[in-house]
Amino acid sequence: SQTIHQWPATLVQPVGSPLSLECTVEGTSNPNLYWYRQAAGRGLQLLFYSVGIGQISSEVPQNLSASRPQDRQFILSSKKLLLSDSGFYLCAWSAGPGGYTFGSGTRLTVV
């Protein structure tokens, strides 16, 4: 069966520090991978998605970047965090349109 792993679960980082969040998927090949951000009590904002290794589409200009170094690995990064980067970050995968499976999320607080 397919599983998605996302870590860490919580993270507190100072302003200006770097960020690296990792997401891996098991049990499937060539998945579509997604990074979403959710502000407190708000909706889901698509940040990046990838349909293959090295292929990244950015949805919203921001202080973040994404990379897909391996088929089932998706990394969200920042060189210098801003206060506004705080939020709940969710990784998801799909084998096609609509069938998203989300990870358990990372709660990022920038202080």
Binding site: Y34, R42, G43, L46, Y49, V51, S57, L90, G99, G105
Partner: protein, 112 residues
């Protein structure tokens, strides 16, 4: 044209009542309409989904009603229970795309 508009933003229903959440879309190319349920601190999980060739789909207490001509679809939760308290997202997608469009979410609270 890519938007999915969801209402209400929040909803309070008595235990045993019917919860109704509505969504509307513009792009007639959408051909897959899922609903996701999210509990606090967790990622959203697929609850139920429908394609536009049917007008209704029921799974247990959860029903999607779909009105293709009005470009609207809704989620009905019958006999609502406190355990249904969560945030619900409607969404829309089309087969040729790699991503789906989410509504803004509805925070549902079921009062015991």
């Amino acid at each position: 044209q890519q938007q999915v508009k969801q209402s209400p933003q929040s909803l309070i229903v008595q235990k045993g009542g019917i919860s109704i959440i509505n969504c509307a879309y513009e792009n007639t190319a959408f051909d897959y309409f899922p609903w996701y349920q999210q509990f606090p601190g967790k990622g959203p999980a697929l609850l139920i989904a429908i394609r536009p060739d049917v007008s209704e789909k029921k799974e247990g207490r959860f029903t999607i009603s779909f009105n293709k001509s009005a470009k609207q679809f809704s989620l009905h939760i019958m006999d609502s229970q406190p355990g249904d308290s969560a945030t619900y997202f409607c969404a829309a997608a089309y087969s040729s795309a790699s991503k789906i469009i989410f509504g803004s979410g509805t925070r549902l609270s079921i009062r015991p």
